[in-house]
């Protein structure tokens, strides 16, 4: 009889654990109806169903990078450069709203690349990022930089981006945008300084070759 009653303490323990987990840590992800599932929806939902949410976001991130490096997707609006960049970014960030790197990377591309130049889309991505990560200030500095760019105030845009590149997880792309901006505006010493930051950062390894080239072109020796 006693052995049969043994199940109740376990049930109570499971109940306490269940309610406690929910009370101390509210579910931090948006409901699944907010997912962007037009492309690769099956892949994302399958991975999430198997319990690999962040891995699904990571694979979405690789898809995005391949898109950025490779060009067009089937059925894409070809009248605009990288028309799918915003939806592909939101695909990643709706799976994992705390993928902060994706917000900064894509919004910088959308706003600062001359062949794209869609600052409004960039701000949409950033505002979603700010809503999900209110304490992550590089999103605000990137938004400010976009604002200054729209107002054609390069110096203030550069000041905002300088703050962003101090962050250890700042995308190399942002550093490259800033360095190229300095070069364009004749501030060669600043351009060399930013490329040197890239060269000295082991996590920017993919850009080391370009950084060395740029430093040589700008007439300085790599540090």
């Amino acid at each position: 009889m006693l052995r049969r009653l043994l199940v109740f303490p376990f049930m109570i323990l499971a109940g306490i654990g269940f309610s406690g987990m929910h009370r101390t840590f509210p579910w931090p992800y948006p409901p699944f109806d907010q997912l962007i599932t037009q492309r690769n929806g099956l892949q994302d939902v399958s991975l999430m169903t198997a319990g690999f949410r962040c891995l699904a976001a990571d694979l979405g991130w690789i898809d995005l990078l391949q898109y950025v490096g490779g060009g067009f997707l089937p059925g894409e609006d070809t009248s605009r450069a990288y028309a799918e960049l915003k939806p592909m970014t939101l695909r990643v960030t709706r799976i994992d709203p705390y993928f902060r790197h994706a917000y900064v990377y894509s919004s910088s591309m959308l706003a600062f690349f001359r062949n794209i130049n869609r600052p409004q889309e960039a701000l949409d991505v950033l505002f979603e990022g700010m809503r999900n990560n209110p304490d992550y200030w590089p999103l605000r500095t990137t938004a400010a930089a976009i604002g200054f760019k729209k107002a054609d105030q390069f110096d203030r845009m550069a000041q905002a981006l300088e703050l962003s590149i101090q962050q250890p997880d700042c995308p190399t792309l942002v550093k490259s945008i800033l360095a190229n901006g300095y070069k364009e505006h004749g501030r060669f010493a600043d351009a060399v300084r930013v490329w040197t930051i890239v060269l000295n950062n082991p996590s920017d390894a993919l850009y080391h070759g370009k950084a060395e080239q740029e430093i040589k072109k700008l007439g300085a020796n790599p540090a």
Binding site: A14, F18, G20, M21, G51, R53, D58, W61, Y98, F99
Partner: protein, 256 residues
């Protein structure tokens, strides 16, 4: 108690000598190697991808192994009639279930620990942001999930008596357990009272595996607190306890 530890030791040895156990490491090498290649595509986020990929691979291998072993282990012993050798001795059936389960969990956890060590060594040169305590917490949550899945698989194997059925049900509950928050959302949206009730029952009765994914939560703005870990431990012990109690109950009613 001595019998219990003997059972645990024998089960552990039996699993470690099994071919499946060795192939687990082979798959781990392949997956982690694949992770290294895939992570190189992630450019700036290589360390994050390698961390997620490795932890997911370790969990996936651990869970598939535990499901396969837990479902087949006792059923095979019954089929081969080797179970008579054990049960002819003065060992209570509940103790037999508990000993076998503990030995299995120990063996798979040991494999997961070796895989985690290997993964950790790969993460060091990538300058991963995850500290050792954070990594260990994520790994421990995967082990907790393994305990719940293993106990569930064991209960289902004794309930259904067919290994494929038990495996299918376990995998179904595994998937639904990761979808429980979405199910709750669906239930809240439904206007039908019956659907609401059904979803409510399922949400509370099925294991909520989504809450074991600390490896996902560590990126959140406010990661779980120490109290959360204690509640997770309560949930793991409670849920696995209920499943093991059901297993012992079903096993006690079996006639050999």
């Amino acid at each position: 108690m001595e019998n219990f530890f003997l059972l645990v030791r024998d089960t552990f040895k039996e699993h470690v000598r099994h071919r499946l156990y060795l192939s687990l490491f082979l798959f781990c090498f392949i997956l982690l190697g694949g992770g290294l290649v895939a992570s190189s595509l992630a450019v700036d986020e290589r360390a994050r991808l390698m961390l997620d990929f490795g932890l997911s691979a370790i969990e996936f291998l651990g869970l598939t192994t535990i499901v396969f072993i837990s479902v087949n282990f006792i059923l095979t012993e019954i089929e081969n009639r080797t179970i008579y050798l054990v049960l002819s001795r003065p060992i209570p059936r509940g103790q037999y279930i508990l000993g076998r389960f503990a030995g299995t969990i120990l063996a798979v956890t040991a494999a997961m620990a070796v895989m985690a060590l290997l993964h950790g060594l790969l993460l060091v040169p990538l300058h991963s942001a995850a500290t050792v305590p954070v990594y260990l917490a994520a790994w421990a949550c995967s082990v907790a999930k393994l305990v719940v899945v293993g106990s569930l698989a064991l209960a289902l194997s004794l309930f259904s008596t067919s290994a494929p059925t038990a495996m299918t049900f376990t995998l179904f509950l595994w998937a639904m357990g990761h979808f429980s928050e979405e199910l709750r959302f669906l239930g809240e949206k439904s206007a039908n009272a019956f659907v609401k009730l059904l979803v409510w029952i399922f949400y509370h009765a099925a294991p909520n595996f989504a809450y074991f994914n600390y490896r996902d939560f560590l990126y959140a703005n406010h990661p779980p607190t120490t109290a959360w870990f204690l509640f997770l431990l309560c949930y793991t012990v409670g849920y696995a306890g209920v499943c093991l109690w059901i297993s012992a109950f079903l096993f006690a009613r079996k006639e050999f």
